[in-house]
């Protein structure tokens, strides 16, 4: 099985690149003939990725969530999977390349640095941790998709204001739809992150008795959670809309990325497992 895992590890970035390429080509050309082919591509990529994650879990006897490169491959899968569901539900097919490219980057980094890890820290062998990580990753996927739609909103907004009627104008859905997609993705991300935080708070004292509440990871996550909470609250109960909310969502996403880098790569946090 190990050689097959290695083969899939090489194949996955290629599949993501292929899927991205066909989505990007379709975005540039806008030809009807690729509409179904690109959906087939994304489906095959996700299927192969799911097989990879399942075999990896079975072979190494732990879900691939114990180090940052394992997490990256799960993140790549969950971002594209969330987008795929969104595409099926809304039938909006023109925004794929902007999201799939992110999965490609995560998968490429993962494939380059991931190692065959049989032994994991005792602290990571917990069911609560599994739920915590999965909900956190899906939450961050929601924030990623929200930020991408936010970015596309800002571009279309600017083009419409400046009378530029190019690819962005011709291929993207309208401003209201982009704003809605960004908002709903953020709400979903927020709910999942809230679940991850609650589980984390329950699990944390058991796993790390000496943890500190001023840990960079906890501060970063709290800040991200607070930003999205403000955004959702002001949208629902106040009159914030459009650019303000979008900028909030993008800021939340950037803080989430920085928080992950700080805690995992610079080993400044108890949350660093690599």
């Amino acid at each position: 099985m190990i050689p097959f895992i290695h083969f899939l590890n090489i194949l996955l970035p290629i599949l993501y690149l292929g899927t991205f390429s066909i989505y990007f080509y379709d975005f540039m050309k806008g030809e009807k003939k690729f509409i179904n082919i690109k959906r087939l591509f994304i489906f095959i990529t996700l299927l192969m990725h799911l097989v990879y994650l399942l075999i990896r879990t079975s072979e190494f006897e732990h879900p691939p969530i114990t180090n940052v490169f394992e997490i990256f491959t799960v993140l790549a899968f969950s971002i594209t999977f969330s987008y795929f569901l969104l595409e099926l539900i809304t039938d909006i097919r023109g925004t794929g390349p902007f999201i799939i490219i992110i999965s490609f980057v995560f998968q490429l980094i993962s494939s380059m640095f991931i190692v065959d890890q049989f032994a994991v820290k005792e602290v990571l062998k917990s069911n609560l941790l599994g739920i915590h990580v999965v909900s956190a990753l899906l939450g961050y996927s929601g924030f990623t998709i929200s930020a991408v739609y936010g970015f596309l909103y800002l571009n279309l907004y600017k083009d419409l204001k400046d009378n530029r009627f190019g690819l962005i104008f011709n291929r993207l859905p309208n401003l209201e739809v982009l704003e809605r997609l960004s908002f709903y993705s953020a709400v979903l991300g927020f709910i999942l992150l809230t679940i991850a935080i609650i589980i984390g708070v329950i699990w944390l004292p058991q796993a790390f008795p000496g943890f500190s509440f001023v840990d960079p990871k906890l501060i970063g996550t709290a800040l991200v959670w607070l930003l999205y909470a403000i955004g959702i609250f002001t949208k629902l109960f106040s009159r914030w809309r459009g650019k303000k909310l979008i900028l909030l969502s993008i800021t939340g996403f950037i803080i989430a990325i920085f928080s992950t880098i700080l805690s995992n790569f610079l080993s400044l946090s108890f949350h660093s497992f690599y």
Binding site: L160, K161, L175, E176, R241, G242, K243
Partner: protein, 427 residues
């Protein structure tokens, strides 16, 4: 194929001449009555604001394009027509022209799908007047298929190519559901009226009009069942609308930046689209600096129109490919009609000769050999005719052009004297 056609259209004649030759549905019916049996066995008469054309199978080969042209111009004595005002088509070219017309690639506004409905209407009149026979019905079916395929398989009709449609296309890039939006049209001249009708067609939730001449706005409002605001108070209502289209003939700015700023405050900066399709402009362009205000004038709408027209032009080769496919398919069918009777005639001709010779010489054979004689002579005829029959069938299968097929069949008939009067007399 004996289909001939003449056409006066936007490529060959100025608008005044086209208008003069435009025919109402009733006029078309009258002309069909005159043309039927005298000039044309079956056919089609199409008249729109950009073209008037007649297609038909002539009652004899002596009928000329000029006679067909006269059918259209006979009752229009006051106009002067020069030869270059009419295009003339014969056989495959006639059909190709009809296919180009119905697919929109011959239209003034390339890809205009109005023409599809107009051609269908012309077909309906031909049917109603018993002007559509066996052949023309097949022509109609093929033409309709070309029109449908052009729309579904290419982007020839996609994108707005008029200012009013471009305005709607732009609005739809901002708002997702027009049924939940409201629009105010200021100025109910032709442009304003078209814009109002487009918005109504796209399902706008609430529509209101305002015009300097209140009665004129009221008349249009009655047609469209909308509200009307007096011109001097419309500014008080600006904030109530998501879309404002201004198309007045005012010489000065009628909506200033401060008007829009005030409206936006009242709307709590909910997005607002302002389309200025008047010349000179009605709305101060400085409003585009206000957040969530989308301002577009006729120049920016023209950019969209030009882009879409260019895209439609790029689609023409794809439509031409569809036309060629359908032409081939039509002539494959048509040639099969032509060659099947030819094969039958040749076989009958040879069998007659065989039977005649057998009859003449039958007494030279014994009674037991006579049956063998029948079998042997039939086998000889079959062997002789095997190759020519196969070749004729190949004409159908290969979909060779009508002229080529007709030539080949003509040679065969001429060589064997088939269909000649003396041959017919014999049979």
């Amino acid at each position: 194929m004996q289909l001939i056609a003449v056409s006066i259209n936007h490529k060959t004649a100025a608008v005044q001449l086209r208008e003069a030759l435009h025919l109402s549905d009733d006029e078309i019916r009258e002309i069909i009555i005159k043309a039927k049996d005298n000039f044309i066995k079956e056919g089609l008469l199409l008249s729109t604001c950009n073209r008037t054309e007649i297609y038909g199978i002539p009652v004899s080969s002596q009928i000329t394009h000029q006679q067909l042209q006269n059918i259209i111009t006979d009752n229009k004595n006051s106009i002067t027509i020069s030869p270059e005002n009419f295009q003339k088509f014969t056989s495959r070219e006639s059909l190709k022209h009809l296919f180009s017309v119905i697919s929109g690639i011959d239209s003034l506004l390339i890809g205009d799908n109005q023409i599809f409905k107009q051609v269908k209407n012309a077909f309906a009149i031909a049917e109603e007047m018993n002007f559509a026979g066996f052949l023309m019905r097949r022509v109609f079916d093929s033409a309709i298929r070309v029109g449908k395929r052009a729309i579904s398989e290419t982007a020839i009709s996609e994108g707005a190519v008029t200012i009013s449609y471009a305005a709607v296309q732009l609005i739809e890039k901002i708002f997702s559901n027009l049924s939940k939006k409201s629009a105010l049209i200021i100025g109910t001249g032709e442009t304003g009226e078209i814009a109002a009708k487009h918005l109504r067609d796209r399902g706008i939730g609430r529509l209101a009009l305002s015009n300097r001449t209140f009665e004129k706005a009221e008349r249009l409002a009655a047609d469209l069942k909308t509200a009307v605001f007096p011109f001097d108070t419309f500014k008080d209502h600006l904030h109530k609308f998501d879309i404002i289209i201004s198309a007045t003939s005012a010489e000065e700015i009628i909506i200033s930046r401060s008007d829009v700023e005030s409206a936006m405050k009242k709307r709590n900066f909910a997005s607002m689209v302002l389309m200025d399709i008047a010349v000179p402009r009605d709305i101060d362009p400085a409003i585009k600096k206000i957040e969530y205000v989308f301002y577009h004038d006729i120049d920016s709408l023209n950019i969209i129109v030009e882009q879409n027209l260019a895209k439609r032009k790029d689609e023409i080769p794809k439509v031409e490919k569809i036309i060629d496919d359908e032409l081939d398919s039509f002539f494959e069918w048509y040639n099969s009609l032509q060659s099947a009777p030819t094969i039958k005639s040749i076989r009958e001709h040879f069998d007659e000769i065989r039977a005649e010779e057998v009859e003449k010489n039958i007494n030279k054979f014994s009674s037991e050999d006579r049956e063998k004689l029948e079998i042997v002579t039939k086998r000889i005829i079959n062997k002789i005719l095997h190759h020519p029959t196969t070749e004729l069938r190949k004409i159908n299968e290969s979909g060779t052009g009508a002229e080529d097929a007709a030539t080949k069949m003509g040679i065969i008939k001429s060589l064997f004297g088939i269909d000649k009067p003396e041959h017919k007399e014999k049979t």
